[in-house]
Symmetry: C2
Subunit: 475 residues, 2 copies
């Protein structure tokens, strides 16, 4: 130990000694298990104060590089080498493991990953087929947008006034009469959940929902500490909610029209039951209404929001299922106090949604292009649904049951045997077929599969469903 | 009490009785303080089982409408009327008060609100003046975008490949050599913070930063339970960090080039100190580099990320300060494991950023339009900075000190007396002048004010600074 630190340079004496120490250790000049001289001796050797050595020792100890054995002096730790090499890289896995947000379920991560590849047949995708997105019309309509500098600046907290005005008008046809102050523009419906989770709910709150639920496939609420609870919607609902909730806060999540993943529509009675039970217990309702435009035949059922006089319903809409998910435009309709709160958090989260996307959607709503497009889309989806039903009858009928879809994207297949498990998922993935198994919507449900007739091409649908039938047959 | 519930209809007996009870109460037929008959008698009167009555009583009790006085039977609660009327509306304030996310500071909420109004002179706004946003060019470039259906679909988790490729190329000029797998597109820099807070940090982690810090004006980290801690950057930094952090996780937030709110640039020594201290302690660094393009003269200082061989630095960029905040496009450059994790959370949060915005930014980067625009912008901002400095010398010199800005948007005024408080903020707001007081960046700092020369018009700057001087003079 002939080295000594240099005085009067910008690196402190402590730091120089620590650096020297770790270099020696890294080079193998100091080895694990070695006994160090006493602090007094070290101070002499390095020609520094005892207090300097003391600080150095404390830091090395904190980093686990040395250890004190009572009554027996200080040693270089047995695992100091490992620690030293670890230290040069941040411990990301540790950071990730202890952080707030839940990772996506493993199956969902695989779905997200494999959806990128073009050769994959996507039987479960909740997205419009590329052929159903009016790409050329959107491209063309970009030329008709007239932008202003304020539009391209930071947005007002609630989002583009123009878009909110267009939405007020549009929502009237759905039986919802509201004002621009009751609307918040979000980056899709998913962000609306995130804002509600962070802005309106106490950790430990209950999120009530039907058994198979889209919400189980995303983690906005779980990551914020909410408890997902399935309930049956029947005459006892109010009692059930009360019993489960007790003194906690609660919130009811519902897709009354064209549910995800089941594709079902609620009867008027079911709507009334939920609305009344939640009203009586002051449980707010999230009404997710992103599919309603895609009913093949209008069913005359109004959304819950249309009956909501007292602000119980947080109504969510979006153009992701009808025009383009890439635009990332959705909205929440709610009481002013709620909108103000959620807008404040949105400002803290991402300062608003894309001005270009907002302008474009406003333009499509105002010009009537949106409505016209939807008509065509409904027709095309209906055709696809009929085609897929034929395929199901041909290939899947022996193994599963389903309801005829009356809109949207999905058929909820119920297989007699509990075979829709991770093994089947992986087996099909190996054949380049991606399915959305029921267990991502309801833990431990191995009977169901969400089939989407909206995404894959006709050829792919035929091939995919045939191969699905084969895989199922062998189980 | 002649009424009786009806059997064999869809509403349960319990529910009918509860509804009857609340109706009677609402009509004033039952009044607070009234004593109820015993459960046995009620069961007889309503011609139902004792157990039915029991459930009804429990629910009414849970809702606070009735109360049991020991040994003295059951009464209608004194505040039952209030409760009844309250119940018809969800208790939103209670929801808000107990929820996860912190509200914006009151002053910041006022700033967000008043920034909407055109008659307000915005002296502190961290945003390009409408005249500096290349609105017509952006509008024109929309015509040059060629969209495809996959682009308008749901994005891959990391965002547009085209934009990430363009960024790889662009970042090389900044001394950062990276790949598309190391980049995540975010909806502005602010969302990057949110993702890091949720995806990489344990609640209780320390966020280290300089004293006055932009991060104190947003709540991404605080709302996720992190502890904001100011540190001085000097030779003792490593020791300071170690002492404060102990066994907790930590993260260092830095804007080494054109800091917000101070506008200062770090020396090479300061950069080295932070990088070395954080490396030694395995503390990741967030390097917020959104202003660097706006240096009036290139200063030859490379970003920390350019020296980062081991993935310690999470590098953040954006076009919000240079092109248009309304596009909502930013990015994070980091290790693949980190990008994968943050991309997963982004998928759960909002399914990606606007495809239109991403395409547009890619187009501006690829075509060289971005670089050309920046040159002009730098020139214009420099002129504005010089104009404002003249105004400061004329009006503010007696009361405050500042450093000549060498880029960006801001001058960090230090007033001799601690007069930049909420009172002054409100007084100026009353005169239609909006300032960004130092206390939103550093609690209890009443000496500073962040002046922005980027937003207000020349006339407004003159008028605003003159009025600011008048207000200050009187204190």
């Amino acid at each position: 130990m002939n080295w000594q630190p240099v005085k009067n340079i910008s690196t402190t004496l402590q730091q120089q000694i620590i650096n020297w120490f770790t270099t020696q250790l890294g080079q193998g000049d100091l080895t694990p298990g070695m006994r160090l001289p006493s602090q007094r001796l070290l101070a002499l050797q390095f020609n520094v104060n005892r207090s300097t050595i003391n600080v150095v020792m404390e830091e090395l100890k904190a980093r686990g590089l040395i250890e004190t054995r009572t009554g027996d002096g200080t040693y270089i730790s047995e695992d100091s080498w490992q620690l030293l090499w670890k230290e040069t890289h941040p411990k990301w896995q540790q950071h990730i493991d202890f952080s707030v947000h839940k990772p996506n379920d493993d199956t969902i991560q695989l779905i997200n990953e494999y959806e990128q590849y073009e050769h994959i047949i996507r039987l479960g995708t909740g997205e419009l087929s590329p052929s159903l997105i009016p790409t050329k019309q959107i491209e063309h309509s970009l030329r008709e947008l007239s932008l202003t500098a304020p539009v391209l600046g930071y947005s007002v907290p609630q989002g583009s006034k123009e878009l909110r005005e267009a939405l007020c008008h549009y929502l009237q046809k759905r039986g919802i009469h509201t004002t621009t102050n009751n609307i918040l523009i979000t980056s899709g419906a998913l962000q609306a959940f995130q804002l509600i989770a962070l802005g309106l709910l106490q950790p430990g709150s209950f999120i009530f929902q039907q058994e198979a639920s889209y919400l189980n496939s995303v983690h906005s609420f779980q990551s914020a500490g909410m408890r997902m609870t399935s309930v049956k919607i029947n005459e006892q609902l109010q009692q059930t909610l009360l019993t489960k909730k007790r003194n906690n806060q609660g919130l009811f999540y519902a897709i009354p029209t064209l549910d995800n993943p089941t594709g079902h529509c609620w009867s008027n009675t079911k709507r009334r039951l939920v609305l009344e039970a939640c009203k009586a217990l002051a449980i707010p309702i999230i009404e997710d209404d992103v599919y309603h435009e895609l009913l093949f035949q209008p069913d005359n059922e109004l959304p819950l929001k249309a009956y909501d006089q007292s602000g119980h319903v947080l109504y969510i809409g979006s153009v992701s299922k009808t025009l383009s998910p890439g635009l990332r435009i959705g909205w929440i309709v709610a009481s002013e106090s709620v909108i103000k709160r959620l807008a404040d958090i949105k400002m803290q989260t991402d300062y608003g949604s894309s001005a270009l996307s907002q302008q474009l959607v406003a333009h499509w709503l105002q010009s009537g292009m949106y409505e016209q497009h939807i008509k065509q889309l409904r027709h095309d989806l209906h055709q696809r649904a009929e085609f897929v039903e034929q395929l199901l009858q041909r290939y899947i009928q022996p193994y599963a049951k389903w309801q005829q879809p009356n809109g949207g994207f999905y058929i909820w297949l119920r297989f007699e045997k509990p075979i829709i498990n991770k093994g089947l998922f992986l087996e099909l993935l190996h054949q380049n077929i991606l399915i959305n198994p029921g267990y991502i919507y309801q833990p431990n449900d191995f009977h169901h599969l969400r089939l989407s007739f909206a995404y894959a091409s006709y050829e792919q649908l035929e091939q995919g469903i045939r191969q699905l039938a084969l895989a199922v047959k062998q189980r």
